[in-house]
Amino acid sequence: MTVPRHSALVPALYRVGEVYRELPDTVTLRLVPESGRRPPYTPGQFNMLYAFGVGEIALSISGEGAEESFLHTVREVGAVSTALARLGVGARVGVRGPFGTGWPAVQDTDVIFVAGGLGLAPLRPAIRRVLAGRGHYGRVAILFGTRHPAEMLYLQELEHWRQRLDVDVSVTVDHADALWHGNVGVVPALIARTTFDPNRSVAMVCGPEVMMRFAVGALREAGVPDERIYLSMERNMKCAVGLCGHCQFGPEFICLTGPVMRFDRIASLFSTREI
């Protein structure tokens, strides 16, 4: 039985099962349904999380945990995200979802994940899915860029991925001191240094939109066709069911035809100002 949903507009009750401190201002919440089972989801989809008395925001699903739970990684930015990030174990939260499109479930291809900052969160379930079925893919590369070595999301899991011999993990930071022995520079620059077959690759990209623009440029330069590039777009999601129009992106509503969108379908909108 799944969590009863009277409608997509009524939140279901969840409780915080665990809080994982990722960074000083970022936590991952494990959310367990108060009754029934959590609904199925596709990596890349999002939920609307309601901090009671404060408000509701869209948050990508960053994985699944024990007790049929959702994982959501949240950074303290505004009032709602700060309220969510400060919830303790046992606290209640409203959840609507999952909504939107997910990352493509491809097989027999090379897979290139390009993540910037918190953009690793929506990609993590897709990365886990690919690594769980590693034999079904060609080369797999995880390219991750962040601001500073001290702001590295999912540090332990990154290290675990890095230790695997069947995954090419490259991490870069914008700035570092001499103690950092990894890459320094922007994440799109890692694309040219990565070995993959552009014609049989699928690229999944998530991060700040400016970063994604540069990443798309680097992927195209490497020869990846537009229809093999997927981006997770972010707009101001409110209703999440295509009614309110807050997340409009040209003729699209990100909550319905996104957040994961194929680049060739949005290429003409992607660098249009005011959209």
Partner: protein, 152 residues
């Protein structure tokens, strides 16, 4: 044993270079090896030799008074270390330090500049190879400056 000309032509950066031009560049080149932590050059030094990394990794950093040096870029295989050799006054504007065992081709900058001056067709070909590298770096530096991951 392979000549430097033939090594050059095997490097992706110089792919497609004809034999004559490879000989011209090769005449200015030497093989170099840097241990981890060893500096390729320091800020303020004359930019009389630049490097094409064959293997290894190099960090570019700037000394900030009273602080640890700030690393602003790392370069790897088949990447060019240094642009200041191309423009007067030919002095490095940052430090370059090997972060792992690094093998590189060192190219005598004055020698290459002279050959470019003597043969403008060759010079133009060289510029067509180096300029895109530096323009791309300018673009990525801009992205780095945007500080896109900061809290908004």
């Amino acid at each position: 044993m392979k000549s430097l000309d033939s090594i050059l032509r095997e490097l992706p950066f110089f792919a497609g270079l004809d034999e004559e031009h490879a000989r011209l560049v090769g005449g200015c080149a030497r093989n170099c090896r840097f241990e981890p932590g060893q500096y390729l050059f320091h800020e303020g030094d004359p930019a009389d030799e630049f490097f094409l990394i064959r293997e290894g990794k190099v960090a570019l950093d700037v000394v900030v008074p009273g602080q640890e040096p700030v690393v602003f870029s790392t370069l790897g295989e088949d990447e060019v270390v240094g642009a200041s050799w191309l423009v007067p006054p030919y002095h490095w504007k940052f430090d370059a330090r090997a972060t792992s065992l690094t093998r590189a081709l060192g190219i005598d900058a004055a020698c290459l500049r002279r050959k470019c001056e003597e043969d403008h067709d060759f010079g133009y070909l060289m510029m067509k190879r180096f300029l895109p590298v530096f323009v791309k770096r300018l673009h990525t530096t801009r992205l780095q400056m945007f500080d896109v991951y900061r809290k908004r």
